[in-house]
């Protein structure tokens, strides 16, 4: 009797302490999204500019985006670089009028295109000093890579810019080698590649400068 009472008592103590840890460490909603919360702000600012949704629309969009990002954080929903951005766009567009949704989706495409172009340029600038490219080769590489560029490569480039990982995306030789001479081809093969091709979307890629202010700025 006294032994089981002792065990129950200590069990309760442990539960209480763990609850306290949980309450202290998790301000409301923050933990469910984890580092992906930054992406919530990115999407909210973007739709605010493009469609200026009403307050009820913004609330509904926020709720859906939070759910989508929380699912991604838990890996119970789309979380990869390929799948999460379209899922986020759906979470927004579902709450807009037909014409607003069309305008919003068109802007998302433009935004993706600019990100892709920036990352292709960055990739070429990154490998240029190692390969010793001519101006013609740099431009030819940009033109060749833009149509085949993958979303995960953008993340690799952005993380490289942020953390100086010095590993380039594992772009297939077929796209690169035809534009290089023999020495440059050897140099390309020697460059360390980032082989983690199945990456989850990492909101840290945008860094502090790219992260919007967490609160609405309406003052």
């Amino acid at each position: 009797m006294s032994r089981s009472f002792f065990l129950v008592r200590w069990g309760l103590l442990l539960v209480l302490a763990a609850t306290a840890v949980g309450l202290r460490a998790q301000p409301p909603r923050a933990d469910a999204l984890g580092p992906l919360r930054a992406q919530l702000q990115v999407e909210l600012q973007f739709v605010r500019k493009i469609c200026a949704p009403s307050q009820p629309q913004m609330q509904a969009i926020t709720k859906d985006l939070e759910k989508c990002l929380a699912d991604a954080a838990k890996r119970t929903g789309p979380s990869s670089c390929d799948l999460l951005p379209p899922a986020l766009a759906d979470s927004v567009a579902n709450h807009l009028s037909k014409s607003d949704a069309a305008r919003y989706r068109a802007e998302v495409l433009k935004r993706d295109a600019q990100e892709r172009e920036a990352c292709v340029y960055t990739f070429v600038a990154l490998v240029d000093p190692d390969l010793g490219l001519s101006d013609h080769q740099r431009k030819a590489l940009v033109a060749a890579l833009l149509p085949v560029w993958k979303p995960v490569w953008s993340q690799m480039i952005e993380m490289d810019v942020r953390w100086a990982t010095r590993r380039v995306p594992p772009i297939p030789d077929d796209f690169i080698l035809p534009l290089l001479d023999a020495d440059q081809a050897q140099a390309w093969k020697r460059l360390p590649k980032n082989l983690e091709i199945h990456q989850v979307f990492d909101a840290q890629r945008i860094g502090a400068i790219g992260t919007p202010n967490p609160l609405p700025d309406d003052e």
């Binding site: 442990l14 840890v21 500019k49 990100e115 920036a118 240029d128 810019v161 860094g207 992260t211 700025d217």
Partner: protein, 316 residues
């Protein structure tokens, strides 16, 4: 039984307090950002020097080496070897760009090795002056050593620039035709890097401020025309290209930038650009200069109009 419940209550309270304080003790991860490559490395390296403080004694010579030469590649190569590898890469790229003959390459390598030798000698001389005795690790003044090594760090960064034997030899050995070819190639490379810096700046502003396609286009156009490429004594990484454009953006007159943004975006942008000055210091330290000779330079520009960042007083 009551006594037992009372003790339980006390323990429960203690457990809750412990839990709260433990959770509160975990700091949020430090945020890093687009910091100039060389500056970031130097900053990290300066704070890890002296791993050789065995038995509480500081190995001052090793600490100086780490402060001056950094730690990258230190496991496989001596400081001198690392500088020689840097020289070799530099000459290889030059040989490609300016179509150097073998004789020209050898002259440049010889001159560069001379610079390296002189520099290593300077560091050794500094060590001899500084290393009077081994010091107690707890009483050693790291900040002082850090300050004293800064001129050497700056010299390492610009080892093959300006008044170096390498730079003088380069100016001498290149024919007029090679010089023109080399200049053209360097200018084209700098322009490509500049475009990359502009693209990265637009990308960062796009996520931070929620820019539309039209705003991105207008910002890109403005930055391409109103900012200049930069050049450095060392390799320019895309991070540096971003910093070069971002710092110039912070110095643009507000009336050039403001019309591109919604009022709420402009307020957010102004706050963001106020921090850009810390990037400028890194660029100056690394000897990055703006192309074109005339016009403002990093670290020394006159302010006639209110800059976007409101940083008139902060610029020198």
């Amino acid at each position: 039984m009551l006594w037992s419940i009372g003790r339980f209550g006390l323990r429960a309270a203690a457990a809750a307090i412990l839990g709260f304080s433990l959770a509160g003790a975990a700091p949020p991860p430090a945020d890093d950002d687009l910091v100039d490559e060389a500056v970031k490395k130097t900053g990290e390296e300066e704070r890890v020097f002296n791993p050789n403080g065995n038995n509480g004694i500081v190995d001052i010579a090793a600490s100086i080496d780490q402060a001056v030469f950094g730690t990258q590649g230190a496991q496989n190569h001596s400081p001198q070897e690392r500088l020689e590898l840097r020289l070799q890469k530099r000459v290889d790229l030059l040989a490609r760009d300016a179509a150097l003959s073998e004789d020209q390459k050898q002259k440049l390598l010889f001159a560069g090795k001379g610079d390296i030798g002189r520099f290593v000698e300077r560091v050794e001389h500094f060590k001899t002056r500084r290393q009077t005795a081994k010091a107690d690790v707890n009483r050693f003044d790291w900040d002082q050593l850090f300050k004293e090594t800064q001129p050497l760090v700056a010299s390492r960064i610009s080892l093959f620039a300006n008044e170096s034997l390498f730079a003088k030899t380069l100016a001498k050995v290149l024919s007029a035709e090679q010089q023109a070819r080399y200049e053209k190639i360097e200018r084209e490379r700098a322009e490509f890097q500049h475009r990359t810096g502009v693209q990265l700046t637009v990308l960062r502003m796009s996520t931070a401020l929620g820019l539309s396609g039209d705003q991105r286009q207008r910002l890109e156009q403005l930055l391409l025309t109103e900012t200049r490429p930069g050049r450095g004594a060392n390799r320019i990484y895309p991070t540096t290209s971003f910093n070069i454009v971002y710092v110039q953006m912070a110095h643009l007159p507000a009336e050039r930038l403001r019309p591109l943004f919604e009022p709420w975006q402009w307020r957010a942008l102004k706050r963001r650009l106020e921090n850009a000055v810390r990037f400028e210091e890194g660029l100056v330290r690394n000897g990055v200069v703006l192309d074109g000779g005339k016009g403002p330079q990093f670290g020394r520009r006159g302010q006639k109009q209110e800059p976007a960042s409101g940083l008139g007083a902060a610029t020198k």
